[in-house]
């Protein structure tokens, strides 16, 4: 259960050349949302779109495939996508909303749906939540430090960033610079330290690069609605799949990293509890499965 409940786990990538070119890894979030929009499974989506500032994402309501494509690619800093959800159903008038969320945002979304205290007529309008794998997230100024100080690159020249093989990679037009991921420690936001969820365990479909070879994504299909949308996309040839490798660079790695995130977080949670500090989750001694997301 360390990866949460899922109906299917697979490798997948978008078959669209343009999406492949622009997006991170297999382009599943972009490809699946575009497909869902075309098929009217959703009538718009909340995504981390571009802002006036390079690499500083802005939660955006995308109504067209072009707008979804403009939001492709991972930004390693905060984009409060949940914030834009109300705009999406109110001023934009969406009735079937797609949304991309990292695990903590998935939690905010699902809690709102089960307990919509102050949120009216929205819970039933979420049609598709695509959860992104997330080890941790960085405040924008931390990201700036990585790029300017550690990689020594002008922010404006960066074309893509990613994390893999133990390194933080910065792509420019002519260069590929990297530094060990260990060097990012201490720069992550503090709230991530108690997070038990690497793989968006409560999303409809979750996806990320961990456990997948280059240009592919690992995908976990979790709920009924996620299953329906993903199957349709595969049937339509928009997304192609192949079996995930069970071994060291596949499922094993994903399981290992998900477990390690939970173990580290549990340690922090237990410590905080001992100090009398608040945490939303139970301490390890309080639950049957110490790594369960409760």
């Amino acid at each position: 259960m360390v990866l949460g409940t899922y109906k299917q786990i697979t490798l997948a990538r978008s078959t669209d050349k343009q999406i492949q070119k622009i997006s991170q890894d297999g382009g599943i979030a972009t490809g699946l949302l575009s497909f869902a929009l075309d098929e009217k499974i959703i009538d718009g989506a909340v995504v981390a779109g571009p802002s006036d500032e390079m690499w500083k994402p802005m939660p955006t309501v995308a109504l067209t495939s072009d707008e979804i494509l403009a939001a492709a690619g991972t930004k390693y800093t905060l984009s409060p996508n949940m914030w834009m959800l109300k705009q999406a159903v109110r001023q934009y008038g969406l009735e079937k909303v797609g949304i991309v969320t990292i695990p903590c945002q998935t939690m905010g979304l699902r809690k709102m749906q089960s307990y919509p205290f102050g949120v009216r007529f929205m819970a039933d309008k979420i049609a598709l939540d695509i959860g992104i794998f997330c080890t941790e997230n960085f405040p924008f100024e931390s990201l700036r430090t990585f790029i300017s100080a550690k990689a020594g690159v002008d922010f404006d020249l960066v074309e893509k960033m990613d994390i893999g093989k133990g390194k933080f990679w910065v792509h420019t037009q002519d260069d590929l610079i990297s530094f060990p991921i260990k060097e990012t420690h201490g720069y992550e936001q503090n709230g991530c330290k108690v997070c038990l969820d690497l793989v968006s365990e409560m999303s409809d479909v979750s996806t990320g690069s961990i456990g997948a070879p280059d240009d592919w994504s690992a995908v976990m299909v979790r709920t009924e609605s996620g299953d329906t949308a993903f199957k349709q996309a595969v049937d339509a040839g928009v997304i192609e799949t192949k079996t995930i490798d069970e071994g060291k660079f596949g499922l094993e790695m994903l399981t290992k990293l998900a477990t390690s995130k939970k173990e580290k977080a549990m340690k922090v949670i237990d410590e905080r509890k001992a100090m009398g500090l608040p945490v939303p989750y139970k301490a390890s001694s309080e639950k049957e499965d110490p790594l369960a997301n409760v």
């Binding site: 709102m112 749906q113 919509p116 205290f117 936001q189």
Partner: protein, 263 residues
């Protein structure tokens, strides 16, 4: 009926093959006596009842088949407050109005469960800003959450609470679903709402992850997100408590969510 309403509210996973057991649940539920519900209106704006009435598709069966409304100015014609299973109390209580206090005390005495219905009753909401001095009763000065005077069993904050949470709560009460009600039970007596609780209990405590749920939930748009953290415009804050209540880092109902999602 209950099963249909629950399905409508998404309170459980979509029906599976276990149709037989579901029918049994429905049968048991329908055999149970209907809970007797009273509505007590103190210093509130009736917005909470308005929100309740916006359960358009299930309002009629909910009110007529699922519960007995035994008391309440807008819902029933009863003068003496009867014994009730559940009293929904809307509005904060004015300490200078002896009649309000008396009615609240009586509700506590007559009701099995007292629910602070809406933020005025639960947290005081904007009436926390009251300071008297206004005609025609300048002495009406102190408006406090009902938990200041009586023991509250359950709180449903929100200004107003959404139609869905009201319906879900009522259904949970009918069903004796204490698991669903637990967060409301825990929120009873939580009266320190006001945006600053979000700052003090989440951001200050290194728990905020900048997801934006608080700002999305804010019913007055008092919250923005700046650099991935909530920024409160106090001039728009009504102290309803919703931002903290919706935050995924304030409390976390993992089991319920998994159940609702069929995971």
């Amino acid at each position: 009926m209950l099963a249909r309403i629950k399905e409508f509210l998404g309170m459980e996973a979509k029906p599976t093959e276990e149709v037989a057991s579901e029918q049994e649940v429905e049968k048991v539920a329908e055999e149970k006596p209907k809970p007797r519900i009273g509505y007590i209106h103190l210093s509130g704006c009736t917005g909470d009842v308005m929100s309740l009435s916006e359960n358009y598709d299930i309002l009629a069966p909910l009110l007529t088949e699922m519960v007995d409304v035994v008391y309440g100015q807008t819902l029933a014609d009863v003068w003496d407050m009867p014994e009730m299973d559940l009293a929904l109390v809307e509005g904060s209580v004015c300490l200078q109005d002896e009649h309000s206090i008396k009615e609240l005390m009586e509700a506590r005495e007559k009701a099995g469960l007292v629910v602070a219905f809406g933020s005025c009753a639960a947290t005081g909401c904007f009436t926390r800003y009251s300071r008297g001095g206004q005609q025609a009763q300048p002495n009406h000065e102190s408006f406090v959450p009902i938990a200041d005077l009586v023991k509250v069993d359950c709180a449903i904050p929100g200004c107003p609470p959404s139609p869905e949470i009201i319906a879900k709560t009522v259904v949970a009460v009918i069903n004796g679903d204490m698991d669903y009600l637990q967060p409301m039970i825990d929120l009873a007596g939580y009266t320190e709402a006001g945006g600053s609780d979000l700052q003090n209990k989440v951001v200050n405590q290194a728990l905020c992850i900048g997801c934006g749920t608080c700002a999305m939930s804010c019913q007055t748009r008092a919250l923005d997100m700046t650099n991935g953290r909530p920024e409160l415009n106090e001039d728009r804050c009504v102290k309803c408590g919703v931002c903290y209540v919706q935050c995924p880092r304030s409390w976390w109902p993992a089991d319920r969510i998994n159940m609702d999602l069929g995971l």
